[in-house]
Amino acid sequence: MSNTPSSDTRSSDSLITTDVETGSNDRTAESRATAVATRDLNVYYGDEQAIDDVSMDIPENRVTALIGPSGCGKSTFLRCINRMNDMIEVCRVEGEVEFGGKNVYDADVDPVALRRRIGMVFQKPNPFPKSIRDNVAYGLKIQGFDGDVDERVEESLKGAALWDEVKDQLDSSGLDLSGGQQQRLCIARAIAPDPEVILMDEPTSALDPVAASKIEDLIDDLAEEYTVIIVTHNMQQAARISDRTAVFLTGGRLVEYDDTAKIFEDPEEQRVEDYITGKFG
């Protein structure tokens, strides 16, 4: 189920990446709008720089993978998009993260309102110790959703390919599910309020291979409706599921950002090739 690279490869503003010729894609061939863009993004933890001057445009309705060795800043980058880094006190962000043309770090942006439009799935499944129904309905509840909650819960669980497995036990605890089911429950929870972007921080690294492959299938489907940005440790996974891939190397530098096929077949940078072929990192 691997995707061939996207036809559109708008150049990011990064100096490092370069435009490459288009490939073919089974999704669409037309040019995609940008869902999230960063401009000269620098992030510091205290004195330490975690993200070094990253500018990139992330296309809408595509799966964009962020890969790189551990500590390269890819998770930090992900958490900048929905401002989860605000929770870390020593963290300081410079530059811009544009979401729909608005810099999310502008003074008038409420991070809570921002997060209501950007879903997030974490490394370790973290369902709340509530019933499956209440887990999925959580976002609706806190946002004061006035529609038919049950219908939305069903839709979301279907969207997360979990409905058939849990439809008879919606009132049992989310913690009773298996790890893979829990992670899909977390995905259902994330998509229930209908966000525009879904951030995934190594969503399969705590799961067994079978459960992981189900999530991968799901991510592919999700890209029909949502912009998915996924951090992964696993290069095969990035190759399988993403349309675009960004390679971060140490020091939080974005080294190369391009169509996935290009990155994996013919990277511009020697370092990226070394990393992908396992010579480094």
Partner: protein, 324 residues
Amino acid sequence: MTDSTESPDLQRRSGLTRLKEGTYGGLFAACAAITLLTTVAIIVTLLSDAVAFFSQVPITEFLTSTSWSPNPRGGGQTFGIVALVIGTLTVTITAAFVALPVGTLTAIYLSEYATSNARSILKPLLEILAGIPTVVYGYFALVYITPALKATLFPEMSTFNALSASLMVGIMTIPMVSSISEDAMSAVPDDLRQAGYGLGATKFEVSTGIVVPASISGIASSYILAVSRAIGETMIVVVAMGAQARMPTVGETVLGIPFINPADVLLDSGMTITVAMVQIAGGDLTGGTIPYDAMFALGLTLFVVTLVMNVLSDIIAERYREEY
């Protein structure tokens, strides 16, 4: 899926929501502030009446006079804290003789020797010692310990005496020593123990020669806390020690040093600072009189002493936390 070309509205949060958030935050902060206010209120309450007291009774007399009689039948009141300090010291030191060694050994046993099963039974049982109401301990001392001691070891013991009360204070403070010391000992990294065993040390040598010295600041901090607790202990002494502020007779000198016979203080009744406060409270609470103010002067003394000890214990404990 929304069209993301239209600028998303990220800043809107209804005034109601923001008001709600702010209200909750403010309420919680206000409740937290109550703890600070409590401290302030304690200090202000104690100080205001203590100042009134010291305007009537010179502070030098308070600190040096050996006679405490706030409500004499006839004749002048005297407010000298020395006899009370001696009473308090008697109880504290005797209790420390029980609680410190027993508590330390308990901590060593729990941390080094006990199986996890034994630990899971012993620790809650020890906690019970600290959970028994102190008035009950006082009652035990008065009606069981004193008669038992009188019948066996000290026939000349009086009904109200410092010894039984102190023994009970000691037992009550054992868990305080043992739990904090055990925490400190458990915090000693296993590497150190392994190093000791590697050199062929026995378990005894590792426990006493490596673990205890390594956790000495934690142990010290637990000692100070236990002593501070003993100083402030009220009901055990009120019930079992009686209420006679006595100066011990300084007996013949031993090797040229003035000597107080311990039996003289231990087997007879006495009065601690806390007992003196309770005794005044039993009679006079409306305020404005010197004994009433004296209560607050005593309270202030107690508060300052225990506060200093707690801060000291904190500082020492902080050191062992830094070490590992």
